[in-house]
Amino acid sequence: MNNKKKSTITQDKVVTWGGNLLLILLTVLIIVPVAYILLCSIMNPSVRNSVGVSLNLKNWTLEGYRRVFQDPNIWRGFRNSFFYSIVFTVISVTVTLLTAYPMSRNDFMGKKFFNAIFVFTMFFGGGLMPTYLLMDQLGLVNTVWAILLPGALNVWNMILARSYYKTVPIELYEAASMDGSTEVQYFFKILIPVCKPIIAVLCLYQFVAMWNSYFDAMIYLDDQNLQPLQLVLRSILVQNQINPNLVANMEKLAETAKLADLLKYSTIVISSVPLIVLYPFFAKSFEKGVMIGSVKG
Protein backbone atom coordinates (compact mmCIF):
# COMPACT_ATOMS: atom_id res chain seq x y z
CA MET A 1 0.00 0.00 0.00
CA ASN A 2 2.69 2.37 1.06
CA ASN A 3 4.75 1.26 -1.90
CA LYS A 4 1.89 1.84 -4.27
CA LYS A 5 1.38 5.31 -2.93
CA LYS A 6 5.08 5.98 -3.33
CA SER A 7 5.06 4.85 -6.95
CA THR A 8 2.00 7.01 -7.57
CA ILE A 9 3.86 9.99 -6.20
CA THR A 10 6.97 9.32 -8.28
CA GLN A 11 4.83 8.82 -11.39
CA ASP A 12 3.06 12.10 -10.72
CA LYS A 13 6.36 13.82 -10.23
CA VAL A 14 7.64 12.54 -13.55
CA VAL A 15 4.43 13.59 -15.31
CA THR A 16 4.45 17.03 -13.70
CA TRP A 17 8.09 17.62 -14.55
CA GLY A 18 7.65 16.28 -18.06
CA GLY A 19 4.67 18.57 -18.55
CA ASN A 20 6.47 21.61 -17.23
CA LEU A 21 9.44 20.80 -19.41
CA LEU A 22 7.18 20.67 -22.48
CA LEU A 23 5.70 24.05 -21.56
CA ILE A 24 9.14 25.56 -21.14
CA LEU A 25 10.23 24.03 -24.44
CA LEU A 26 7.24 25.52 -26.24
CA THR A 27 7.87 28.92 -24.67
CA VAL A 28 11.46 28.77 -25.89
CA LEU A 29 10.37 27.65 -29.35
CA ILE A 30 8.09 30.66 -29.61
CA ILE A 31 10.35 33.26 -28.04
CA VAL A 32 13.64 32.30 -29.72
CA PRO A 33 12.58 32.94 -33.35
CA VAL A 34 10.99 36.24 -32.37
CA ALA A 35 14.03 37.29 -30.34
CA TYR A 36 16.33 36.12 -33.13
CA ILE A 37 14.60 38.42 -35.60
CA LEU A 38 14.85 41.35 -33.18
CA LEU A 39 18.57 40.69 -32.71
CA CYS A 40 19.28 40.19 -36.39
CA SER A 41 17.57 43.46 -37.20
CA ILE A 42 20.30 45.30 -35.29
CA MET A 43 23.21 42.97 -36.03
CA ASN A 44 26.03 43.96 -38.31
CA PRO A 45 25.38 41.70 -41.31
CA SER A 46 29.02 40.64 -41.75
CA VAL A 47 29.23 39.58 -38.10
CA ARG A 48 25.94 37.71 -38.39
CA ASN A 49 27.22 35.80 -41.37
CA SER A 50 30.54 34.80 -39.84
CA VAL A 51 29.94 34.29 -36.11
CA GLY A 52 26.16 34.43 -35.82
CA VAL A 53 24.27 36.68 -33.45
CA SER A 54 26.33 38.34 -30.76
CA LEU A 55 25.36 40.34 -27.72
CA ASN A 56 28.43 42.54 -28.07
CA LEU A 57 27.15 46.10 -28.50
CA LYS A 58 30.04 46.83 -30.86
CA ASN A 59 28.53 44.53 -33.45
CA TRP A 60 25.18 46.21 -33.34
CA THR A 61 24.02 48.66 -35.96
CA LEU A 62 20.91 50.69 -36.67
CA GLU A 63 21.81 50.78 -40.36
CA GLY A 64 18.92 48.45 -41.28
CA TYR A 65 16.33 50.65 -39.62
CA ARG A 66 17.89 53.80 -41.03
CA ARG A 67 17.61 52.43 -44.53
CA VAL A 68 14.12 50.94 -44.15
CA PHE A 69 12.84 54.27 -42.85
CA GLN A 70 14.17 55.86 -46.03
CA ASP A 71 12.00 53.58 -48.14
CA PRO A 72 8.95 55.59 -49.21
CA ASN A 73 7.12 52.36 -50.08
CA ILE A 74 7.12 51.28 -46.43
CA TRP A 75 5.71 54.60 -45.27
CA ARG A 76 3.06 54.58 -47.95
CA GLY A 77 2.20 50.99 -47.07
CA PHE A 78 1.78 51.95 -43.41
CA ARG A 79 -0.45 54.88 -44.29
CA ASN A 80 -2.61 52.78 -46.61
CA SER A 81 -2.85 49.90 -44.15
CA PHE A 82 -3.97 52.21 -41.36
CA PHE A 83 -6.54 53.73 -43.66
CA TYR A 84 -7.90 50.36 -44.85
CA SER A 85 -7.91 48.81 -41.40
CA ILE A 86 -9.64 51.72 -39.68
CA VAL A 87 -12.23 52.42 -42.37
CA PHE A 88 -12.91 48.72 -42.93
CA THR A 89 -13.37 48.18 -39.19
CA VAL A 90 -15.85 51.05 -38.94
CA ILE A 91 -17.88 49.97 -41.98
CA SER A 92 -17.78 46.28 -41.19
CA VAL A 93 -18.63 46.50 -37.49
CA THR A 94 -21.42 49.01 -38.12
CA VAL A 95 -23.05 46.87 -40.80
CA THR A 96 -22.56 43.70 -38.78
CA LEU A 97 -24.07 45.17 -35.60
CA LEU A 98 -27.02 46.59 -37.54
CA THR A 99 -27.75 43.35 -39.39
CA ALA A 100 -27.47 41.25 -36.26
CA TYR A 101 -30.21 43.24 -34.50
CA PRO A 102 -33.32 42.17 -36.43
CA MET A 103 -31.80 38.70 -36.71
CA SER A 104 -31.71 38.51 -32.91
CA ARG A 105 -35.40 39.36 -32.53
CA ASN A 106 -37.65 36.36 -32.17
CA ASP A 107 -40.64 38.18 -33.63
CA PHE A 108 -38.78 39.37 -36.75
CA MET A 109 -40.81 38.26 -39.76
CA GLY A 110 -38.70 36.59 -42.46
CA LYS A 111 -35.91 35.84 -40.01
CA LYS A 112 -35.47 32.28 -41.21
CA PHE A 113 -35.42 33.33 -44.84
CA PHE A 114 -32.82 36.06 -44.33
CA ASN A 115 -30.76 33.83 -42.08
CA ALA A 116 -30.63 31.23 -44.84
CA ILE A 117 -29.48 33.91 -47.30
CA PHE A 118 -26.65 34.98 -45.00
CA VAL A 119 -25.54 31.54 -43.82
CA PHE A 120 -25.48 30.08 -47.34
CA THR A 121 -22.63 32.46 -48.22
CA MET A 122 -20.51 30.74 -45.56
CA PHE A 123 -20.92 27.47 -47.42
CA PHE A 124 -20.73 28.49 -51.05
CA GLY A 125 -19.47 31.35 -53.15
CA GLY A 126 -18.98 32.43 -56.72
CA GLY A 127 -15.27 31.78 -56.65
CA LEU A 128 -12.30 33.82 -57.76
CA MET A 129 -12.99 34.68 -61.40
CA PRO A 130 -16.73 35.44 -61.23
CA THR A 131 -16.05 37.72 -58.26
CA TYR A 132 -13.15 39.40 -60.02
CA LEU A 133 -15.17 39.94 -63.20
CA LEU A 134 -18.05 41.41 -61.20
CA MET A 135 -15.74 43.82 -59.42
CA ASP A 136 -14.32 44.78 -62.79
CA GLN A 137 -17.78 45.42 -64.23
CA LEU A 138 -18.77 47.46 -61.20
CA GLY A 139 -15.67 49.58 -61.84
CA LEU A 140 -14.26 48.77 -58.41
CA VAL A 141 -10.91 47.31 -59.53
CA ASN A 142 -8.09 49.63 -58.49
CA THR A 143 -10.30 51.51 -56.06
CA VAL A 144 -10.27 51.30 -52.27
CA TRP A 145 -13.85 49.97 -52.32
CA ALA A 146 -12.66 46.64 -53.71
CA ILE A 147 -10.88 46.16 -50.39
CA LEU A 148 -13.44 47.73 -48.09
CA LEU A 149 -16.83 46.48 -49.25
CA PRO A 150 -16.94 42.79 -50.23
CA GLY A 151 -16.03 41.40 -46.81
CA ALA A 152 -17.80 44.09 -44.80
CA LEU A 153 -20.64 41.85 -43.63
CA ASN A 154 -18.91 38.97 -41.90
CA VAL A 155 -21.58 36.36 -41.24
CA TRP A 156 -19.64 34.67 -38.46
CA ASN A 157 -19.28 38.01 -36.64
CA MET A 158 -22.97 38.68 -37.23
CA ILE A 159 -23.77 35.40 -35.47
CA LEU A 160 -21.48 36.41 -32.57
CA ALA A 161 -23.22 39.77 -32.22
CA ARG A 162 -26.64 38.15 -32.51
CA SER A 163 -25.94 35.69 -29.70
CA TYR A 164 -24.61 38.54 -27.58
CA TYR A 165 -27.78 40.62 -28.14
CA LYS A 166 -29.80 37.62 -27.02
CA THR A 167 -28.13 37.73 -23.61
CA VAL A 168 -29.43 41.25 -23.02
CA PRO A 169 -32.55 41.08 -20.78
CA ILE A 170 -35.77 41.50 -22.74
CA GLU A 171 -37.09 43.79 -19.97
CA LEU A 172 -34.83 46.57 -21.28
CA TYR A 173 -36.59 46.39 -24.62
CA GLU A 174 -40.04 46.22 -23.07
CA ALA A 175 -39.34 49.23 -20.87
CA ALA A 176 -37.99 51.20 -23.83
CA SER A 177 -40.96 50.46 -26.07
CA MET A 178 -43.35 51.35 -23.23
CA ASP A 179 -41.63 54.72 -23.13
CA GLY A 180 -42.39 54.96 -26.83
CA SER A 181 -38.86 54.75 -28.16
CA THR A 182 -38.39 53.50 -31.72
CA GLU A 183 -36.17 50.56 -32.67
CA VAL A 184 -33.40 52.93 -33.71
CA GLN A 185 -33.55 54.79 -30.42
CA TYR A 186 -33.55 51.57 -28.43
CA PHE A 187 -30.64 50.20 -30.47
CA PHE A 188 -28.35 53.20 -30.12
CA LYS A 189 -29.29 54.41 -26.66
CA ILE A 190 -29.79 51.18 -24.76
CA LEU A 191 -28.56 48.10 -26.63
CA ILE A 192 -25.22 49.35 -27.98
CA PRO A 193 -23.98 50.75 -24.65
CA VAL A 194 -24.42 47.36 -22.96
CA CYS A 195 -22.75 45.55 -25.85
CA LYS A 196 -19.36 47.24 -25.58
CA PRO A 197 -17.43 44.00 -24.91
CA ILE A 198 -18.60 42.30 -28.11
CA ILE A 199 -18.09 45.51 -30.10
CA ALA A 200 -14.49 45.69 -28.90
CA VAL A 201 -13.96 42.07 -29.92
CA LEU A 202 -15.45 42.59 -33.38
CA CYS A 203 -13.39 45.76 -33.94
CA LEU A 204 -10.19 43.94 -33.06
CA TYR A 205 -11.06 40.95 -35.24
CA GLN A 206 -11.73 43.10 -38.27
CA PHE A 207 -8.77 45.43 -37.71
CA VAL A 208 -6.26 42.60 -37.40
CA ALA A 209 -7.84 40.66 -40.27
CA MET A 210 -7.52 43.66 -42.57
CA TRP A 211 -4.05 44.59 -41.34
CA ASN A 212 -2.73 41.09 -42.02
CA SER A 213 -4.48 40.26 -45.30
CA TYR A 214 -2.95 40.65 -48.73
CA PHE A 215 -4.98 38.59 -51.18
CA ASP A 216 -7.71 41.07 -52.12
CA ALA A 217 -5.17 43.86 -52.41
CA MET A 218 -2.96 41.66 -54.59
CA ILE A 219 -5.69 40.92 -57.10
CA TYR A 220 -7.61 44.21 -57.07
CA LEU A 221 -4.96 46.90 -56.59
CA ASP A 222 -2.39 47.35 -59.34
CA ASP A 223 -1.84 50.98 -58.43
CA GLN A 224 1.22 51.14 -56.16
CA ASN A 225 -0.15 54.20 -54.39
CA LEU A 226 -3.07 52.17 -53.07
CA GLN A 227 -1.16 49.11 -51.92
CA PRO A 228 -1.25 48.18 -48.23
CA LEU A 229 1.78 47.33 -46.12
CA GLN A 230 1.42 43.57 -46.57
CA LEU A 231 1.92 43.90 -50.32
CA VAL A 232 5.02 46.03 -49.81
CA LEU A 233 6.27 43.39 -47.38
CA ARG A 234 5.45 40.68 -49.88
CA SER A 235 7.67 42.20 -52.52
CA ILE A 236 10.51 42.57 -50.01
CA LEU A 237 10.21 39.34 -48.01
CA VAL A 238 8.68 36.87 -50.44
CA GLN A 239 9.61 38.13 -53.88
CA ASN A 240 12.98 39.38 -52.71
CA GLN A 241 12.60 42.72 -54.46
CA ILE A 242 14.39 45.32 -52.42
CA ASN A 243 14.28 48.95 -53.38
CA PRO A 244 17.62 49.26 -55.25
CA ASN A 245 18.20 52.74 -53.87
CA LEU A 246 18.50 51.32 -50.37
CA VAL A 247 21.39 48.97 -51.17
CA ALA A 248 22.89 51.07 -53.96
CA ASN A 249 26.14 52.18 -52.37
CA MET A 250 27.23 48.65 -51.60
CA GLU A 251 30.01 47.73 -53.94
CA LYS A 252 30.18 43.98 -53.80
CA LEU A 253 27.31 41.70 -54.60
CA ALA A 254 27.88 39.67 -51.44
CA GLU A 255 27.64 42.83 -49.36
CA THR A 256 24.39 43.69 -51.06
CA ALA A 257 22.95 40.27 -50.26
CA LYS A 258 23.96 40.56 -46.59
CA LEU A 259 22.49 44.02 -46.37
CA ALA A 260 19.32 42.79 -48.06
CA ASP A 261 18.86 40.25 -45.28
CA LEU A 262 19.44 42.93 -42.65
CA LEU A 263 16.77 45.05 -44.32
CA LYS A 264 14.38 42.09 -44.26
CA TYR A 265 14.84 41.60 -40.53
CA SER A 266 14.38 45.32 -39.84
CA THR A 267 11.32 45.41 -42.09
CA ILE A 268 9.71 42.52 -40.21
CA VAL A 269 10.24 44.30 -36.89
CA ILE A 270 9.01 47.67 -38.09
CA SER A 271 5.92 46.20 -39.72
CA SER A 272 5.02 44.37 -36.54
CA VAL A 273 5.31 47.38 -34.22
CA PRO A 274 1.63 48.45 -34.29
CA LEU A 275 0.34 44.98 -33.43
CA ILE A 276 3.06 44.37 -30.81
CA VAL A 277 2.30 47.67 -29.07
CA LEU A 278 -1.40 46.84 -28.97
CA TYR A 279 -0.93 43.13 -28.31
CA PRO A 280 -1.22 42.97 -24.49
CA PHE A 281 -4.42 44.99 -24.68
CA PHE A 282 -6.18 43.01 -27.33
CA ALA A 283 -5.03 39.46 -26.58
CA LYS A 284 -7.55 39.31 -23.76
CA SER A 285 -10.41 40.65 -25.85
CA PHE A 286 -9.67 38.11 -28.54
CA GLU A 287 -9.76 35.35 -26.01
CA LYS A 288 -13.18 36.57 -24.92
CA GLY A 289 -14.35 36.47 -28.53
CA VAL A 290 -13.33 32.84 -28.88
CA MET A 291 -15.32 32.02 -25.76
CA ILE A 292 -18.43 33.89 -26.92
CA GLY A 293 -18.09 32.02 -30.21
CA SER A 294 -17.76 28.68 -28.52
CA VAL A 295 -21.11 29.09 -26.80
CA LYS A 296 -22.66 28.98 -30.24
CA GLY A 297 -19.94 26.78 -31.82
Binding site: I30, P102, G125, G126, T131, V184, N212, L237, E287
Partner: protein, 310 residues
Amino acid sequence: MRKKEKTGSVSAYMNQFGKYFRKNWQLYIIFLLPGLLLTLIFKYLPMLGIIIAFEEYSPFLGYFDSKWIGAYNFKRLFSSTEFLRLLVNTLKLSGYNLLWSFFPPIILALLLNRVRSAKIKRNAQLVFYLPYFISTIVLAGMIRLFFSPVGPINAIFGTSIDFMSESEWFRSLYIGSGIWQTIGWSSIIYTSTLAGVSQDLIEAAKIDGATIIQQIRNVELPALKPVIVIQFILSAGNIMSIGFEKVYAMQTDLNKITSDIIPTYVYRLGLEMGDYGYSTAVGLFNSIVNLILLVAVNYVVSKLNEGEGL
Protein backbone atom coordinates in the same frame (compact mmCIF):
# COMPACT_ATOMS: atom_id res chain seq x y z
CA MET B 1 -61.31 24.55 -52.98
CA ARG B 2 -57.94 23.59 -51.69
CA LYS B 3 -56.22 25.94 -54.09
CA LYS B 4 -58.37 28.81 -52.97
CA GLU B 5 -57.52 28.12 -49.37
CA LYS B 6 -53.82 28.19 -50.23
CA THR B 7 -53.91 31.52 -52.03
CA GLY B 8 -56.03 32.76 -49.15
CA SER B 9 -53.32 31.86 -46.67
CA VAL B 10 -50.61 33.42 -48.82
CA SER B 11 -52.49 36.67 -49.08
CA ALA B 12 -53.25 36.46 -45.40
CA TYR B 13 -49.56 36.08 -44.75
CA MET B 14 -48.78 39.01 -47.03
CA ASN B 15 -51.42 41.02 -45.21
CA GLN B 16 -49.92 40.13 -41.89
CA PHE B 17 -46.45 40.89 -43.20
CA GLY B 18 -47.62 44.25 -44.58
CA LYS B 19 -48.97 45.17 -41.19
CA TYR B 20 -45.79 44.00 -39.47
CA PHE B 21 -43.64 45.84 -42.01
CA ARG B 22 -45.51 49.12 -41.58
CA LYS B 23 -45.07 48.90 -37.85
CA ASN B 24 -41.44 47.70 -37.94
CA TRP B 25 -40.11 49.18 -41.17
CA GLN B 26 -37.01 50.38 -39.37
CA LEU B 27 -35.93 46.79 -38.79
CA TYR B 28 -35.89 46.13 -42.52
CA ILE B 29 -34.77 49.44 -43.99
CA ILE B 30 -32.28 50.70 -41.45
CA PHE B 31 -30.97 47.52 -39.86
CA LEU B 32 -31.24 44.73 -42.40
CA LEU B 33 -30.89 46.48 -45.75
CA PRO B 34 -27.20 47.53 -45.71
CA GLY B 35 -25.98 44.04 -44.86
CA LEU B 36 -28.48 42.43 -47.21
CA LEU B 37 -27.43 44.64 -50.14
CA LEU B 38 -23.73 43.92 -49.53
CA THR B 39 -24.49 40.21 -49.45
CA LEU B 40 -26.62 40.24 -52.59
CA ILE B 41 -24.13 42.32 -54.58
CA PHE B 42 -20.82 40.83 -53.47
CA LYS B 43 -21.84 37.23 -52.69
CA TYR B 44 -24.86 36.37 -54.82
CA LEU B 45 -24.10 38.26 -58.05
CA PRO B 46 -20.78 36.38 -58.42
CA MET B 47 -22.74 33.13 -58.08
CA LEU B 48 -24.63 34.09 -61.24
CA GLY B 49 -21.25 34.63 -62.88
CA ILE B 50 -20.50 30.93 -62.40
CA ILE B 51 -22.29 30.50 -65.74
CA ILE B 52 -18.97 31.22 -67.47
CA ALA B 53 -17.76 27.81 -66.29
CA PHE B 54 -19.98 26.45 -69.08
CA GLU B 55 -18.94 28.99 -71.70
CA GLU B 56 -15.96 29.82 -73.80
CA TYR B 57 -16.05 33.12 -72.01
CA SER B 58 -14.73 36.20 -73.68
CA PRO B 59 -14.87 39.53 -71.85
CA PHE B 60 -15.75 41.25 -75.13
CA LEU B 61 -18.79 39.08 -75.77
CA GLY B 62 -19.99 39.04 -72.16
CA TYR B 63 -22.03 36.52 -70.22
CA PHE B 64 -24.84 36.17 -72.73
CA ASP B 65 -23.07 36.07 -76.06
CA SER B 66 -20.06 33.92 -75.23
CA LYS B 67 -20.15 30.48 -76.83
CA TRP B 68 -21.94 27.82 -74.75
CA ILE B 69 -19.75 24.75 -74.38
CA GLY B 70 -21.66 22.82 -71.72
CA ALA B 71 -19.59 20.58 -69.50
CA TYR B 72 -16.51 20.79 -71.73
CA ASN B 73 -14.41 22.55 -69.09
CA PHE B 74 -15.21 19.86 -66.55
CA LYS B 75 -14.30 17.10 -69.00
CA ARG B 76 -11.08 18.98 -69.66
CA LEU B 77 -10.38 19.14 -65.91
CA PHE B 78 -11.11 15.49 -65.18
CA SER B 79 -9.06 14.25 -68.12
CA SER B 80 -6.12 16.60 -67.52
CA THR B 81 -2.91 15.12 -66.20
CA GLU B 82 -2.74 17.82 -63.55
CA PHE B 83 -6.11 17.12 -61.99
CA LEU B 84 -5.12 14.11 -59.93
CA ARG B 85 -1.90 15.74 -58.71
CA LEU B 86 -3.77 18.88 -57.64
CA LEU B 87 -6.49 16.95 -55.87
CA VAL B 88 -3.96 14.74 -54.09
CA ASN B 89 -1.85 17.78 -53.12
CA THR B 90 -4.90 19.58 -51.75
CA LEU B 91 -6.13 16.58 -49.78
CA LYS B 92 -2.68 15.62 -48.51
CA LEU B 93 -1.84 19.14 -47.36
CA SER B 94 -5.09 19.67 -45.49
CA GLY B 95 -5.40 16.07 -44.32
CA TYR B 96 -1.91 15.94 -42.83
CA ASN B 97 -2.43 19.43 -41.48
CA LEU B 98 -5.57 18.30 -39.67
CA LEU B 99 -3.87 15.21 -38.23
CA TRP B 100 -0.74 17.02 -37.06
CA SER B 101 -2.22 20.25 -35.78
CA PHE B 102 -5.37 18.95 -34.15
CA PHE B 103 -3.98 17.37 -30.99
CA PRO B 104 -1.16 19.72 -29.85
CA PRO B 105 -3.60 22.44 -28.67
CA ILE B 106 -5.47 19.86 -26.58
CA ILE B 107 -2.24 18.68 -24.96
CA LEU B 108 -1.25 22.31 -24.36
CA ALA B 109 -4.58 23.02 -22.65
CA LEU B 110 -4.14 19.97 -20.39
CA LEU B 111 -0.64 21.10 -19.49
CA LEU B 112 -1.73 24.67 -18.79
CA ASN B 113 -4.55 23.39 -16.61
CA ARG B 114 -1.91 21.86 -14.30
CA VAL B 115 0.00 25.11 -13.85
CA ARG B 116 -0.84 26.23 -10.32
CA SER B 117 0.32 29.84 -10.40
CA ALA B 118 -2.33 31.94 -12.13
CA LYS B 119 0.26 34.58 -12.95
CA ILE B 120 2.62 32.18 -14.72
CA LYS B 121 -0.32 30.67 -16.58
CA ARG B 122 -1.51 34.08 -17.72
CA ASN B 123 1.93 35.15 -18.96
CA ALA B 124 2.55 31.81 -20.65
CA GLN B 125 -0.73 32.18 -22.50
CA LEU B 126 0.24 35.65 -23.68
CA VAL B 127 3.43 34.17 -25.14
CA PHE B 128 1.58 31.28 -26.76
CA TYR B 129 -1.01 33.53 -28.44
CA LEU B 130 1.59 35.89 -29.87
CA PRO B 131 2.44 34.07 -33.14
CA TYR B 132 -1.23 34.03 -34.09
CA PHE B 133 -1.05 37.76 -34.80
CA ILE B 134 1.91 37.53 -37.16
CA SER B 135 0.70 38.10 -40.70
CA THR B 136 0.91 35.40 -43.33
CA ILE B 137 3.42 37.42 -45.33
CA VAL B 138 5.70 38.02 -42.36
CA LEU B 139 5.47 34.35 -41.40
CA ALA B 140 6.40 33.31 -44.94
CA GLY B 141 9.26 35.83 -44.82
CA MET B 142 10.48 34.39 -41.53
CA ILE B 143 10.39 30.87 -42.93
CA ARG B 144 12.37 31.97 -45.97
CA LEU B 145 15.01 33.65 -43.79
CA PHE B 146 15.29 30.85 -41.21
CA PHE B 147 15.33 28.02 -43.72
CA SER B 148 17.46 29.66 -46.39
CA PRO B 149 20.62 27.75 -47.35
CA VAL B 150 22.69 30.24 -45.31
CA GLY B 151 20.06 30.66 -42.60
CA PRO B 152 20.22 29.75 -38.92
CA ILE B 153 18.53 26.34 -39.23
CA ASN B 154 21.14 25.12 -41.68
CA ALA B 155 23.84 26.70 -39.51
CA ILE B 156 22.66 24.74 -36.46
CA PHE B 157 22.72 21.41 -38.28
CA GLY B 158 25.80 22.21 -40.35
CA THR B 159 23.91 21.58 -43.58
CA SER B 160 23.03 23.74 -46.55
CA ILE B 161 19.62 22.49 -47.64
CA ASP B 162 17.55 24.90 -49.71
CA PHE B 163 14.31 24.07 -47.93
CA MET B 164 12.12 26.39 -49.97
CA SER B 165 13.20 24.77 -53.23
CA GLU B 166 12.84 21.18 -52.11
CA SER B 167 9.31 20.05 -52.75
CA GLU B 168 9.51 17.30 -50.12
CA TRP B 169 9.98 19.92 -47.41
CA PHE B 170 7.01 22.06 -48.34
CA ARG B 171 4.33 20.22 -46.37
CA SER B 172 6.46 19.89 -43.26
CA LEU B 173 7.28 23.58 -43.30
CA TYR B 174 3.68 24.53 -43.94
CA ILE B 175 2.28 22.32 -41.20
CA GLY B 176 5.10 22.96 -38.70
CA SER B 177 4.85 26.72 -39.03
CA GLY B 178 1.08 26.39 -38.77
CA ILE B 179 1.34 24.56 -35.46
CA TRP B 180 3.85 27.15 -34.24
CA GLN B 181 1.48 29.94 -35.18
CA THR B 182 -1.84 28.55 -33.94
CA ILE B 183 -1.13 26.11 -31.09
CA GLY B 184 -1.78 28.70 -28.36
CA TRP B 185 -4.71 30.25 -30.08
CA SER B 186 -6.46 26.97 -30.84
CA SER B 187 -6.01 25.87 -27.23
CA ILE B 188 -8.20 28.70 -25.87
CA ILE B 189 -11.42 26.83 -26.45
CA TYR B 190 -10.10 23.80 -24.55
CA THR B 191 -8.55 25.91 -21.78
CA SER B 192 -11.84 27.70 -21.20
CA THR B 193 -13.73 24.41 -21.17
CA LEU B 194 -11.30 23.02 -18.59
CA ALA B 195 -11.66 26.17 -16.50
CA GLY B 196 -15.32 25.25 -16.20
CA VAL B 197 -14.51 21.79 -14.81
CA SER B 198 -15.07 21.79 -11.10
CA GLN B 199 -11.78 21.58 -9.21
CA ASP B 200 -13.67 19.48 -6.63
CA LEU B 201 -13.79 16.58 -9.07
CA ILE B 202 -10.02 16.67 -9.48
CA GLU B 203 -9.53 17.04 -5.72
CA ALA B 204 -11.83 14.07 -5.11
CA ALA B 205 -9.89 12.00 -7.64
CA LYS B 206 -6.66 13.00 -5.91
CA ILE B 207 -7.98 11.93 -2.52
CA ASP B 208 -8.93 8.61 -4.07
CA GLY B 209 -5.26 8.24 -4.94
CA ALA B 210 -5.62 8.75 -8.68
CA THR B 211 -2.43 9.58 -10.53
CA ILE B 212 -2.32 12.64 -12.76
CA ILE B 213 -2.67 10.42 -15.81
CA GLN B 214 -5.76 8.81 -14.26
CA GLN B 215 -7.20 12.22 -13.38
CA ILE B 216 -6.72 13.38 -16.96
CA ARG B 217 -8.26 10.25 -18.36
CA ASN B 218 -11.25 10.15 -16.01
CA VAL B 219 -12.02 13.79 -15.30
CA GLU B 220 -10.51 16.17 -17.82
CA LEU B 221 -10.78 14.23 -21.08
CA PRO B 222 -14.46 13.34 -20.56
CA ALA B 223 -15.15 17.04 -19.93
CA LEU B 224 -13.34 17.98 -23.15
CA LYS B 225 -14.84 15.23 -25.27
CA PRO B 226 -17.86 17.11 -26.72
CA VAL B 227 -15.68 20.10 -27.67
CA ILE B 228 -13.04 17.85 -29.21
CA VAL B 229 -15.61 16.00 -31.28
CA ILE B 230 -17.19 19.18 -32.61
CA GLN B 231 -13.84 20.83 -33.33
CA PHE B 232 -12.64 17.76 -35.17
CA ILE B 233 -15.75 17.51 -37.31
CA LEU B 234 -15.63 21.23 -38.11
CA SER B 235 -12.00 20.99 -39.23
CA ALA B 236 -12.77 17.89 -41.24
CA GLY B 237 -15.52 19.78 -43.04
CA ASN B 238 -13.07 22.49 -44.03
CA ILE B 239 -10.64 20.13 -45.66
CA MET B 240 -11.20 21.51 -49.18
CA SER B 241 -11.16 25.15 -48.11
CA ILE B 242 -7.51 25.28 -47.11
CA GLY B 243 -6.33 28.87 -47.17
CA PHE B 244 -4.86 30.20 -50.37
CA GLU B 245 -2.86 33.00 -48.80
CA LYS B 246 -0.24 31.04 -46.91
CA VAL B 247 0.30 28.40 -49.58
CA TYR B 248 0.74 31.06 -52.21
CA ALA B 249 3.16 33.03 -50.02
CA MET B 250 5.26 29.88 -49.49
CA GLN B 251 5.14 28.69 -53.08
CA THR B 252 8.27 28.76 -55.21
CA ASP B 253 8.75 27.53 -58.76
CA LEU B 254 10.70 24.59 -57.44
CA ASN B 255 8.36 23.37 -54.70
CA LYS B 256 5.26 23.47 -56.89
CA ILE B 257 5.25 19.69 -57.26
CA THR B 258 3.76 19.50 -53.77
CA SER B 259 2.64 23.08 -53.12
CA ASP B 260 0.35 23.41 -56.13
CA ILE B 261 -3.20 23.00 -54.82
CA ILE B 262 -6.57 23.62 -56.40
CA PRO B 263 -6.93 27.24 -55.17
CA THR B 264 -3.48 28.27 -56.46
CA TYR B 265 -4.26 26.54 -59.77
CA VAL B 266 -7.53 28.48 -60.02
CA TYR B 267 -5.61 31.69 -59.41
CA ARG B 268 -2.94 30.91 -61.99
CA LEU B 269 -5.44 29.87 -64.64
CA GLY B 270 -7.71 32.84 -64.15
CA LEU B 271 -5.61 35.83 -63.27
CA GLU B 272 -2.28 34.91 -64.80
CA MET B 273 -3.32 32.95 -67.91
CA GLY B 274 -6.70 34.58 -68.55
CA ASP B 275 -8.48 31.24 -68.96
CA TYR B 276 -11.60 32.56 -67.21
CA GLY B 277 -14.09 29.82 -67.99
CA TYR B 278 -11.80 26.94 -67.14
CA SER B 279 -10.59 28.64 -63.96
CA THR B 280 -14.21 29.11 -62.88
CA ALA B 281 -14.97 25.46 -63.60
CA VAL B 282 -12.05 24.29 -61.46
CA GLY B 283 -13.12 26.65 -58.68
CA LEU B 284 -16.71 25.43 -58.93
CA PHE B 285 -15.57 21.82 -58.61
CA ASN B 286 -13.70 22.74 -55.43
CA SER B 287 -16.66 24.69 -53.99
CA ILE B 288 -19.10 21.88 -54.67
CA VAL B 289 -16.94 19.25 -52.98
CA ASN B 290 -16.54 21.69 -50.11
CA LEU B 291 -20.27 22.36 -49.94
CA ILE B 292 -21.06 18.65 -49.79
CA LEU B 293 -18.52 18.16 -47.00
CA LEU B 294 -19.86 21.13 -45.03
CA VAL B 295 -23.48 20.07 -45.35
CA ALA B 296 -22.56 16.57 -44.21
CA VAL B 297 -20.59 18.00 -41.30
CA ASN B 298 -23.36 20.40 -40.34
CA TYR B 299 -25.76 17.48 -40.32
CA VAL B 300 -23.50 15.53 -37.96
CA VAL B 301 -22.96 18.57 -35.71
CA SER B 302 -26.67 19.26 -35.44
CA LYS B 303 -27.24 15.61 -34.48
CA LEU B 304 -24.63 15.92 -31.73
CA ASN B 305 -25.61 19.42 -30.70
CA GLU B 306 -29.28 18.70 -29.95
CA GLY B 307 -30.61 19.82 -33.28
CA GLU B 308 -28.75 23.09 -33.51
CA GLY B 309 -26.46 23.40 -36.48
CA LEU B 310 -24.92 26.58 -37.79
